[in-house]
Every structure is written in C-alpha cells, then in structure tokens.
C-alpha cells in the first residue's frame, strides 16, 4: 500500500482533504478507494463556482466496475476542478494523493475539519475494513 501523506485528513467514505496555505482545501479520493474501485474510466466534475456542502456528493468517479459519489468533506465555493481527469481519469489510479486531485473548495467553516480522520486513524480504519 502507498504511504499516506501526513498533511491529509480523511472522511470514513475515503475522500481526502489537504488544507492549503491560502485557505482553500484540495479534495480527492484515497489510494485505498481507487484500489477498491479498480480502473477508473470517467470522472464527473462539479463546476467552478458551484457551492459544495459538507457531506454531500460533489463529484462522481466511475470505474469499469461501479460508479461512486465523491463527498465534499467541507463546505464552500468550488474554485478549481481537475479538468485533466476528463481525458485521463486513470490519473487517480496512478497518483490518488497528487495529480489525481479532483476539486478545490474555498473553506467557509474550518470547524468542519475537526470531524475528519488523521492519516493514522484512516490507516487503522482501512486495515479494520480489510479483516
């Protein structure tokens, strides 16, 4: 399994967030999640300017096997989306924590981050799921 970068936080539903210095949050799905989904073939991105609500679906990733909602861990305006995924959805399979980011939200409520799992807690979660 790939090492989980220390600056990420996670939802139990396998989305990650990286809070950037400028008050935005970059969101993607975990390496574990891409492994469960298998080869990704399509990503339905939100639009820049849309408003993300914490805990609601903001994007959809589809593998050959299944479609899966991507929940936004945080609320706020969507200020960027990873358009490169339209042509190369497999980027998420290859680099889930880097080039495979999905969208960026301008944080409106930092308290929402309190609920999230740190890398150790997330690693523990997926380990227990595998049993």
């Amino acid at each position: 399994m790939k090492e989980i970068p220390g600056d990420l936080m996670f939802l139990k539903s396998h989305e990650w967030v990286r809070v950037e210095d400028n008050g935005t949050a970059t969101i993607g799905i975990s390496d574990h999640a891409q492994g469960l989904l298998g080869d990704l073939v399509y990503v339905e991105l939100p639009n820049v300017g849309d408003t993300a609500q914490a805990g609601t679906a903001a994007a959809v990733v589809e593998s050959v096997k299944a479609a899966s909602d991507v929940y936004s861990p945080v609320s706020g305006e969507i200020v960027a989306v990873n358009d490169a995924l339209a042509d190369r959805p497999e980027t998420i399979n290859e680099d889930a924590y880097g080039e495979g980011w999905i969208f960026v939200v301008k944080l409106s409520d930092r308290d929402e981050l309190q609920e999230m799992l740190d890398p150790d807690a997330y690693a523990e979660l997926i380990e227990s799921e595998e049993d």
Binding site: D39, V60, V64, K65
Partner: protein
Amino acid sequence: MTRKTVLNDSHRALGAKMVDFGGWDMPLNYGSQIEEHHAVRRDAGMFDVSHMTVVDMRGPRTCEFLGHLFANNIGKLKIPGKALYSCMLNADGGVIDDLIVYFIAEDFFRTVVNASTRDKDLAWITEKAKAFDVQITERTDLAMIAAQGPNARAKVASVLGEAAAARALKLGKFVAVEADGLFIARTGYTGEDGFEIMVAESAAVDLWNRLHAAGVQPAGLGARDTLRLEAGMNLYGQDMDESITPWEAGLAWTISLDEGRKFIGRSALEAQKAAGVTRDMVGIIMDEKGVLRHGQRVLTESGDGEILSGTFSPTLGKAIAFARIPAGARDAVRVDIRGREVSVRVVKYPFVRDGQAVVA
C-alpha cells in the same frame, strides 16, 4: 461457504483481487482489468473458469433426451467433438440457463452450464433425464482454463506434446478434441479465437503455470465481462432469466423450430411469436462520456426499457450495453443517468470481433 477452485492459491500468489462470484472465491483482476482486456484482444490471456459446471450425459437415448431438453437442435451436431450453444427453457419458454453442449459419441454428450445456476440446472436435468434413462454425472474432478486471444492457440500448442499440439491446431471453430488427457475446445466467451481446456484438477496448476510461462497473461472476471459484452454475448441473470424468453433476449438464432421436435418451452415460444414479441434486446452505444450500468432506465418514443449488461468498452473507449426496450423502438433513445437524460445509439452487435471494432 465460499468454494475455491484448484487454482485459488495461484490467483492469490499472482496478487489477484478476489471477489465472491456465485458462491465462488474468484479473481476479479490481477491489477488492471483494462490491461487484461487488451491482452486478450491483442495477444493472449487466460481465465480460470473451473467454477463452471461440467455435466456428462450418457446413455443410448441421450441425443433424443437433449432434443427434448434444449431449444437449439442437438441434431445439428454431426461429427464427434462438435459443440452447440443452446438455451434450456422451462415450459413457459423462460430461460433456465444458457449452455454449451459437446457431442462426444452417440451415447455421450457433455454440457457446460453456469456456476450461478448449478443447483437448479442439475435438478432440472436429472429430473428430465429419468424418462430417457440418461445418466447424469457432474464432473467436479475437472478444472477449466480458457486461453483466449489472437495468439492464444499458438501459445497453448507450445505447451502441449507434439501430437496433441497438432491435433489442437487442426480444430475447426466450435469443435473439441481429447488429447494429452485434456479436453480442448476451440470455443470461448471473448469474441477472440482460442481454446477452453478441461483438465484434471490434479494437473490444472501445472497447466496454468506452463501457460503463464508461455506468455499467456492471467485475466480476471472483470476483463471477462467487458470482453464478452463487446463480443455481444449474453450473461445469464443479467440479460435473461426464467421470466424472459429467447425472443426477448436476442437469442432467436438459437431457437430451432425444426419439424416435429417437441422441446420443452416450444409451444410457449410459438404462441409468443404468433401473438407478436413486444420487447427486443438491442445493443446501445453512448458517445457521451460516462458508463452505462445494469438497471438504468431507457427512454424511447414507444415506452421505457432498461439497461441489462452495461459497461465501459476498453476497445471502443466508450460505454456500451444491452438494453431491453419496446420492439421496434430505434430513434430518440435516451438513458437516465443519475437524473440526466443522455442520448444513445441503438446498434447491431457484436461491438467487437477478432480484435476489431464492428460498430463505429
């Protein structure tokens, strides 16, 4: 309890992602199902299909029995080794299962039925066989490996003895031969050339390893599904079941209404045909991005239908599907994807055959 094929440890050693399939612990993929798909289309791949049910049927009246049991005409099989694809129907014309049957000798036929339908198939076949004194034997001692792809036959031949290789390479399509203790059939479920090989369980791991060493790439159920759908082949349970007749499942070509043969389900099929078949199975291609999935609603000008098998086609790079829709509906067909109506095209299938796209 989950059942394991004799190759289970081999799959795990290759790092396969395992899933439950009809009660069997089977490999979904060994890393990337799309790469495995392409390996079969471009070179050679192999599938463990030992979970499938092999049933031998013996007795002087076996041919007569199968003429009664199967909707396709067993009488078409004239030479030993020849295979036939057929549906096995209930009295209402509904599909109990689809299968392949091999003619081995006048008093000896072998059929391969689906793993997911094993229990009901065996019960049905055994019950119906009584009146014909046909002996039914499930061959749980056999494993099965399907080697498929443009280079599959040559690679299989390279691991066989000289005489067996020569006999295997001479096989016509849809014909089988026994050689080197193997039952080698030039059949498959991918739309590519290749062999399906039945092998004694005790020799299966060795054969698998020899094929792997010869450059035949292991491929899982994920690739098997995208390959068969591209090839326009039905999947039992998804494209048809006991509530669906072959007329409604794109399987009219497998029904043989030959003079005087009273097979189970025939009168129901004839009645439905006379009354007019109201639903049709069609091929669907979506040019927009996205993936067609089982259960999605299909909208047509003549009423709604549904997506049966649906997937992303690695060969075409777009979504393909089978759909059951009102008969004759062809224009302005749309699919409801998460509340959005997406236009799709109704096309003839197969979508892909022998490595080439058949539809644009």
